[in-house]
């Protein structure tokens, strides 16, 4: 009951808030949704203590769901350490965001609907992390997709929000397609979708092959890569990342909750959850490492050039997710989960801080129109500093522990791809520090670039918006220090238990603790030089960035236009698809299917229908006659010998 409550309280909150929103009872809606999530968070703490600290794995049954033939999927909730960690992250950040939204959205008439969506999202996310089988995980997976669609497009009257929501949905479909294929492949391979059954004997499938149109491929590699494609879509990895920056059209609390702390990390969670399979797929692991590392550096380079405050943070998220993936790719799943946890705190903090800035500047999001407000918003300013320090990985902040752990693990893997990932990660660390301070300086320091009228309205956000930042800030400062031993240190094996599986021959986690000193120091040096670089470029010599930009010309444009990914996709996929669709519609649909199908059928049905109405005369003897004809026809069928 206790465990079910964690998952279903947010759902109840969402339903109640949705009903209240029909009657415009905003305060009631806020009260139920916030209390649902907060209670769920408190329960999660107990669950964490029992499951993760106590080392007990709980499987709680909810209902028998689909039993069809050999396909069996029961609705069960699985609480192991992996889930418990995610529970804390999801409900914790969600609680902060719920409370923050009360202030941030208070002027919006549809706040009740917003709270309902937020709670619905939380429920779906909890379904995802507590899933005991792949179908249920997929349910949560799609649930968060829907909630994300609703929230990105929350201001549906804005054309751009609308388009962004569609884009997020469609791009995610590509990943989901891979995911579904992966689930099907697992089902054909193992005959089950339940985790326990799948993981029971993965080693025995090592030599299994999947034959597809004559080509035999190693089954576990195929499965792993398909699942990773799903993860790429949700976690905005290079290639399927284009939706994430656009998703910033949603209200800022949404960006903090969904597009920084929780939903986008679902891909990382999936990879860790499926570690017993992926561990046996060396090629897939290499692919994950390469994609993760490329994303990390790609997003960091783009982040340097953007001017929308939220987009900068969005690219930073993309980049940090890349770190998590390449950590998973070198079998350092604990490090990935560790970074996931710390990142959730400081990235949510940064987003909510950015929201506070936007709020203070009357909904201004462009960095070029900010600056010089740091005295007026001291709390927000402090919070942004904390977040940035943690993000850049300065010593003793949360990011320091987790990001360094990842880089050390990549180095410690002693493989070719591991080294590539290490160097790309280091470069990204430098860029991260650079763009973080670029953001801080442009947003808070220098001459005010906003209009005088806007500046006169600049004010610190109300308590309801600043208070939720405090727990997040505490997390951003202390989470790394507090969690280090448990997540990746000496207590690692006991902490994770069976929830993560690492092949004994993959020693990156162990080797990470024994890397040369320069590997440990390098990230700090890089971060410091990044900060210095930003200081020089934006405070000491404010004309330098423009000069560099014009000097590099094409390269700058290349970065500024996000490596032309959107244009490329538009050219390769969108336009041909529109043309092809148009052709199909004219020739295929209208010309063939409609002509013979619906149009032809409806004409036939229409004729038949009027016939029937004609027969239905209302005379009893006609009816009786029809009955007798029926009997005689049935009898004749047997007498004529057909019935034998």
């Amino acid at each position: 009951m206790f465990y079910q409550a964690i998952v279903f309280l947010p759902l109840l909150g969402a339903i109640a808030a949705g009903l209240f929103s029909l009657r415009q009872q905003n305060s009631a809606a806020i009260a139920v949704s916030v209390s649902g999530v907060v209670i769920s968070f408190i329960l999660s703490l107990f669950a964490f203590a029992h499951v993760a600290m106590g080392g007990n794995t709980e499987i709680v049954s909810v209902a028998r769901w689909i039993n069809s033939g050999t396909f069996e999927a029961n609705w069960q909730l699985r609480f192991d350490t992996l889930t418990a960690v995610m529970l804390i992250v999801v409900t914790g950040v969600s609680s902060c965001v719920h409370i923050y939204s009360v202030g941030y959205m208070h002027h919006d008439k549809a706040i009740a609907r917003f709270m309902a969506y937020l709670s619905l999202f939380t429920f779906a996310m909890l379904m995802l992390v507590t899933a005991d089988n792949l179908v249920q995980l997929f349910f949560g997976w799609e649930g968060v997709g829907v909630a994300s669609y609703l929230l990105i497009g929350f201001w549906y009257h804005k054309e751009s929000a609308h388009t962004a929501a569609m884009k997020a949905f469609v791009v995610n479909r590509v990943g989901d397609f891979g995911f579904v294929l992966g689930i099907l492949a697992i089902f054909t391979l193992t005959g089950s979708v339940s985790f326990d059954a799948i993981f029971a004997d993965t080693a025995s499938y090592q030599n299994a092959v999947i034959t597809f149109s004559g080509i035999s491929l190693p089954a576990l590699e195929v499965v792993s890569i398909l699942l990773f494609i799903g993860a790429m879509g949700k976690s905005a990895q290079l290639g399927l990342h284009t939706w994430l920056p656009d998703a910033m059209e949603g209200p800022t609390p949404v960006s903090a909750l969904i597009h920084a702390a929780t939903m986008v990390t679902a891909g990382v969670f999936l990879v860790c959850r499926m570690s017993p399979i992926i561990e046996y797929a060396p090629i897939a692991l290499d692919v994950i490492t390469i994609v993760g590392a490329s994303t990390a550096i790609f997003a960091a380079t783009v982040g340097m050039t953007q001017f929308d405050i939220k987009r900068v943070i969005a690219y930073s998220t993309c980049s940090q997710l890349g770190y998590m993936f390449f950590a998973a790719g070198v079998s350092a799943y604990p490090a990935a989960m560790f970074h996931l946890t710390t990142h959730a705190f400081f990235k949510a903090l940064l987003f909510l801080g950015a929201g506070s800035v936007i709020h203070a500047l009357s909904d201004e999001q462009d960095l070029r129109n900010m600056g010089g407000i740091w005295r007026k918003v001291p709390v927000t300013y402090t919070m942004m500093w904390v977040g940035s320090l943690a993000l850049a990985g300065f010593p003793f902040f949360a990011g320091f522990y987790s990001k360094d752990m990842i880089l050390e693990a990549a180095y410690g893997a002693h493989t070719g791809v591991g080294m590539i990932a290490f160097w790309l990660g280091c470069a990204a660390a430098l860029l991260t520090a650079f763009y973080s301070w670029r953001l801080l300086i442009l947003a808070f320091h220098g001459q005010p670039r906003a209009s005088a009228e806007v500046m006169s309205h600049v004010h610190e956000s109300p308590n309801v918006m600043t208070l939720p930042l405090i727990p997040l800030a505490l997390g951003a400062i202390f989470a790394g220090w507090a969690g280090y031993e448990l997540f990746v240190g000496h207590d690692m094996a006991a902490f994770w238990g069976d929830s993560i599986f690492i092949l004994p021959s993959h020693t990156a986690m162990e080797a990470a603790h024994h890397v040369p000193l320069w590997v440990k120091l390098l990230p700090i040096v890089l971060a410091t030089s990044g900060v210095l670089g930003a200081y020089i470029a934006y405070v000491k010599m404010p004309h330098l960035p423009a000069k560099i930009a014009s000097a590099c010309g094409g390269f700058y444009d290349f970065l500024f236009n996000k490596w032309y990914f959107d244009e490329l996709y538009d050219r390769i996929f969108v336009r041909p698809a529109v043309l092809f669709g148009g052709w199909l519609w004219r020739r295929g649909d209208k010309g063939t299917i409609d002509y013979f199908g619906p149009d032809g059928l409806s004409a036939l049905v229409g004729r038949l229908s009027s016939r029937l109405v004609h027969i239905q005369t209302g005379y009893v003897y006609h009816y009786a006659f029809a009955m007798m004809i029926g009997v005689v026809v049935l009898l004749s069928w047997y007498f004529s010998g057909f019935g034998r």
Binding site: V620, A626, M627, Y638
Partner: protein, 483 residues
């Protein structure tokens, strides 16, 4: 024959309802004589009948498990029978609950509830029939009150016509059934189902098959399967709306169960033979139901065709002749009862300036004036059209699955095609409610019981998919008595 503990507990629901019916006869009669305005007595009678259904439902739990044969093997209960009795009682409860005391249309009399109660007794006995004679008697006990209530609105010519038509055609169908029964008796030497089944162990003679054709034709009339369906639209339209609701919700369940009993237990050895009849009936019903509804203007008439189509789908499951098919029918009938209750829950709130309206076009603009009611109707229509994940979808899904697994692929294909056609007129109602405006909105204020019924039945439809796993396993286990 002795009355033992078993007798009492196995037939307890029937005992309760019969005793109650006799008490109600007295109440109805004496309340009339003392001229206490009728008003009080109808309230009392209605409440009593609702309590009776409830008590009978509870009494079902006292029926011992397993197969029990009573009254000189004329009466049998087993798990399937108990489940279906429960379904009938739930449906009857809904149908009686829907009728408020002031409904009018001739049903605001104690006799209405009394006759409905009698019909329900008939249905329960019908479901338990284990002999051709008790089958026929129970069938008549069920039909006779229904003929009367269909004509209950004595001030309306249409209602009288409906009652008369139903009666005449019902008499014809009884004739067919009796003729068939006499042939079956003649060729098997017994009227007992088990004895008939054992006489068929070496295959069927021509006479048996002819008898079976007549017998099944008579039963097909009761579930309004085409081509024995002609009465349905006229009776549904002519009868007072609460009576139509009753017709739509309950008797079909009893008829379908009886059909299952007869085919699986009496003719269980010649499955190949009766399958063909059921396939023919199923195909005809699906086509007639789906196409006939399109042109209708009256919502009751449309639902009549819709129920013909539903029976076609259920028959498709029965025609599969497998345990899977039988369990699909159980699931289908379960969803059918709740969809019927929900649909009439909406229709019976449709009033304009106090008088009930029943044209489909009266639903126009319902979403604007009554958003919740329109939403409920939308759910029901989607469910009837078989849109996942609503209850109606699962009913169809299991039925078609059973048909396909039994090798009846053409039947399943026709079924899917006709559901597509059927979706047209269900969606038409949704379009009317949501995308068209009306000049004169309907009255406000659904009655309390209507609201409750809508909440229960629409909730059932919406949440059905949580229980489908349990229900489908339950269904397989309760039909296992026949396999």
């Amino acid at each position: 024959m002795e009355f033992s503990q078993i007798t009492i507990s196995a037939a307890l629901p029937e005992f309760i309802l019969i005793s109650l019916a006799l008490v109600m006869v007295l109440i109805a009669a004496f309340a009339k004589q003392t001229e206490t305005d009728g008003e009080g007595s109808i309230k009392l009678v209605r409440t009593l009948s609702l309590l009776g259904y409830f008590a009978a439902f509870l009494a079902l739990f006292s029926v011992p498990d397993g197969r029990i044969v009573l009254f000189n093997e004329l009466f049998a209960v087993n798990d399937l029978v108990i489940y279906m009795k429960g379904l009938i009682l739930v449906g009857a409860f809904f149908a009686s609950w829907l009728v408020s005391e002031q409904w009018g249309e001739g049903v605001d009399r104690p006799e209405f509830h009394l006759l409905v109660l009698m019909a329900v007794i008939g249905m329960l006995l019908m479901v338990s029939a284990n002999n051709l004679i008790s089958l026929y008697m129970a069938l008549e006990l069920q039909s006779l009150p229904l003929y009367v209530v269909a004509a209950m609105r004595t001030s309306s010519l249409k209602s009288s016509e409906a009652g008369l038509k139903y009666f005449l055609l019902g008499a014809l169908s009884s004739g067919l059934l009796l003729y068939g029964a006499s042939l079956v008796y003649g060729f098997s030497g017994s009227t007992n189902f088990e004895a008939i089944a054992s006489s068929l162990s070496g295959g069927a003679s021509v006479g048996m098959i002819v008898g079976m054709v007549f017998l099944l034709s008579g039963l097909a009339f009761k579930i309004s399967a085409a081509p024995f369906h002609m009465w349905t639209p006229d009776v549904y339209e002519g009868a007072p709306t609460p009576v139509t609701a009753l017709f739509a919700i309950v008797p079909k369940v009893a008829g379908m169960t009886l059909l299952m009993n007869v085919t699986y237990s009496a003719f269980g050895n010649i499955t190949d033979q009766w399958m063909q009849i059921l396939i023919a009936l199923s195909v005809a019903s699906m086509i007639v139901g789906a196409t006939g509804a399109i042109m209708q203007q009256n919502i009751k008439r449309m639902l009549a065709y819709s129920s013909i189509a539903h029976m076609g789908y259920a028959l498709a499951g029965l025609a599969a002749g497998t345990s899977e098919g039988a369990s699909a029918v159980v699931i289908y009938m379960t969803t059918y009862v709740f969809m019927g209750a929900a649909a009439f829950g909406v229709i019976m709130t449709m009033r304009r300036e106090g008088t009930p309206v029943e044209k489909i076009s009266d639903l126009a603009g319902l979403s604007a004036s009554h958003p919740l009611l329109a939403a409920a109707m939308m759910v029901v229509m989607f469910s009837m059209a078989g849109i996942p994940p609503l209850a109606g979808f699962f009913g169809k899904w299991y039925v078609f699955l059973a048909a396909v697994n039994a090798g009846l692929i053409p039947l399943a294909v026709i079924g899917v095609l006709t559901s597509v056609i059927g979706a047209f007129y269900y969606l038409r109602i949704i379009r009317l409610m949501y995308f068209e405006d009306s000049d004169a909105p309907l009255d406000d204020g659904a009655s309390h019981q209507n609201r409750m019924i809508l909440i229960i039945s629409v909730g059932f439809i919406l949440l059905f998919f949580f229980g489908i796993g349990t229900l489908s396993q339950e269904a397989v286990s309760i039909v296992s008595v026949y396999f």
